[in-house]
Amino acid sequence: MTLAGLFALWLLMSGLFKPLLIGFGLASVLVVGWITSRMDAQDGDHLDIRLSPLRLAGYLLWLLAEIARANWSVMRIILSRRMPVRQHLFRVPFSQKTDLGQVIFANSITLTPGTITVETERDNFLVHALGYDENDDEALAEMDRRVAQVETAGGV
């Protein structure tokens, strides 16, 4: 499964279909697979993906809109003469169960300009905001709900 994905990636990246090159591709895919399996045997660190692809796509669209809005406000701060910065470091609780869900939430916070996840704790993120206002908590809670939906709906 992983090997087939890697091989598809090779074909897409090279775009050449000569037997020699495909042979090289197969060989390197096999070597990588062998090394990875050895590494897996060593640390046993596994990532199980429990996401529903459809909801993830929907979430990404929503995130894009959110990023556009956030960019607009940060742009106004940067371009204005006085730069009305209102910095604040605050806690945001998260409700995702898996590591991957938490990573998605933390990265979404950082990806929207104006807020950055600074530290992860047991059930909170420390978030730094450039232009903090009281609605931010609510907006982040909304994002948290949406990420949690993406996560729990899957279970494949």
């Binding site: 940067i78 300009p113 704790e121």
Partner: protein
Amino acid sequence: MNAVDVFLEVLSWALIVSGSVFVIIGSLGLWRLPDFWARLHGASVTESAGVILLIWGMCIQAGFTLITVKLIIIGIFLFITGPTATHAVANAALVTGWRPSEAEGLTGAEPEPLRPENEDDALDGGEE
């Protein structure tokens, strides 16, 4: 040139030009904003809006080819690693005991002290 082509051309123009504008704004932010914690946000404008818009614009220009595939792979990669790198910078600054200055009337949350497992990480990391 039919209507679809014209539309795509105009769309990619708009995407690339606005992406360029956001890239410049982001770096301006990196230059103008008062301190490090604020500058983080300036850099993240480049990393989110600039990257997304420029990559989309280039994808539309490239059409339906392997180049688009490569662009999308680059885009996805930047989309994932950009915020991770920003987080790592901020986290390193916080862990070394540096706190952002707070706006008037707000008190910042104090991070919890390092957990034991983090301490193990610290020991391993130092051994490298």
